[in-house]
Symmetry: C2
Subunit: 239 residues, 2 copies
DNA sequence: GAAACCGATGTTGTATGATAACCATGTAAG
DNA sequence: CTTACATGGTTATCATACAACATCGGTTTC
């Protein structure tokens, strides 16, 4: 417990700072699983905030499964982060291997989702996909609108699986991937790429329309392979 | 805002109940993106708790990205749950279709993880898997220890992919699935099943040891198929 | 008339103190 | 040795107060 907070802090809430500070102590191993946290009063004094703020931070960490607390005893670092919430550290994603791992995970989900979508899609699903693709055609390549509709298209594919969690997970992972790409500023910009990307999407759409799971899977794989190289990822042979 | 909380509530924290209650209002569309939440005072009055408890709930929802708040104005439902955290509502999982969806998602990840593990596993990975399997043999079927080592085995498989996010996601999903199964009390108990399950695990281990991705994939699929029927899930033809 | 100023009011952010419920521990009574 | 009780420490909750900020209306000023 070393961090001291300035009195003048017009940024995130104090509880957020306290929470991430404690979180860091845990991540860095200065607070080990099973360890008892300082009492709320001590924490309040250490950080120079009210006990109320500390409690908000504690509540947050508890909801994230990082700690657990018992009335009359204290708060303890959770043995295993049996989290009821899943988080991804943005900073860690800046490292190439981490990014590649997340990209791979997304790929697995996307490819399987495409196959399932081809089997289960309804006409409404198809309509939504076509609509998203049409919107993307009218957006300038690389623009915010373009990126948004790109994600939207993939979302409609995921939705066509009829699996709500597929949508939730895929969007979660994709968002993180997209953020990381934007942050690194690694995307190339070219008019040609727009046509290429749209063509890949069209192929996915067609195969799902034809209810051809094998083809949809392969089309999605090809699309992701293209996306990877566009971002400068040396992709590994898969399957 | 309808829920009234009993004064006598010796369960989860009040802030947890308030948070999930508001969360439900959002999920059910009674609070739409952009809508302003009632003031903290109103919420406190509605739920019959102090403003302090409401603030802890708000802090939690804010950290989950579901709402945002500005000093002097109020709290608002986030336009897009651009959450930096991913959560799964436990209550919703009680419904059969939701559970089935999550089970399917887990299956996708497990199967692909098994294939990747077969390709990339190191000798250390293999050792960890064997160790986990050995521990499971010594645990009584259906016991807490058994369930724990079962999860541990699957974790070692996921770890053998070398993809940290695969581990994180798979464990997250598996935990939720396991919780839901335990809550429903739907698992059968029989000595025979122990041998069957162990056999399935052994087959997975063997194929990964042989670096046979196809076989590992198939073994994992079979294992999950067995697990599904053991839990009473009518599984759908996949692939 | 338009723009700038000003104050009243409502809301969130934070601090402080108090009380109830609960746990752990030690100590005295049986 | 066991039980009962007293005590101190900790979390959970409540209540109140104040600071910081936003909004809105009226007033002044140009």
């Amino acid at each position: 417990m070393t961090l001291k907070l300035d009195k003048v802090n017009r940024g995130p809430h104090l509880s957020t700072l306290v929470a991430s500070s404690i979180s860091r102590e845990i991540a860095q191993g200065r607070l080990r699983p099973g360890d008892q946290l300082p009492t709320e009063q001590q924490l309040a004094q250490t950080f120079g905030v009210s006990r109320n703020v500390v409690r908000e931070a504690i509540a947050r960490l508890r909801s994230e499964g990082r700690i657990w607390s018992q009335q009359g005893r204290g708060a303890f670092v959770a043995d295993e982060p049996n989290a009821t919430v899943l988080t991804i550290d943005f900073d860690a994603l800046q490292q190439a291997t981490a990014f590649q791992s997340l990209f791979e995970l997304r790929g697995i989900l996307e490819v399987q989702a495409a196959a399932l979508a081809a089997k289960r899609r309804t006409d409404d699903d198809l309509l939504a996909m076509k609509e998203a693709l049409a919107t993307m055609r009218n957006a300038p390549y690389g623009s915010v609108m373009w990126l948004k509709t790109d994600l939207e298209f993939h979302k409609t594919v995921a939705a066509a699986t009829g699996n709500a969690y597929m949508v939730q997970f895929l969007m979660f992972v994709s968002e993180r991937v997209r953020e990381s790409i934007l942050a690194s500023g690694n995307q190339q910009r070219s008019e040609d790429l727009a046509a290429v990307t749209l063509g890949e999407h069209q192929r996915i759409l067609d195969s799902i329309e034809a209810k051809n799971a094998e083809e949809a899977q392969e089309a999605m794989r090809a699309h992701l392979h293209g996306a990877a190289s566009r971002v400068g990822l040396a992709e590994e042979q898969s399957e």
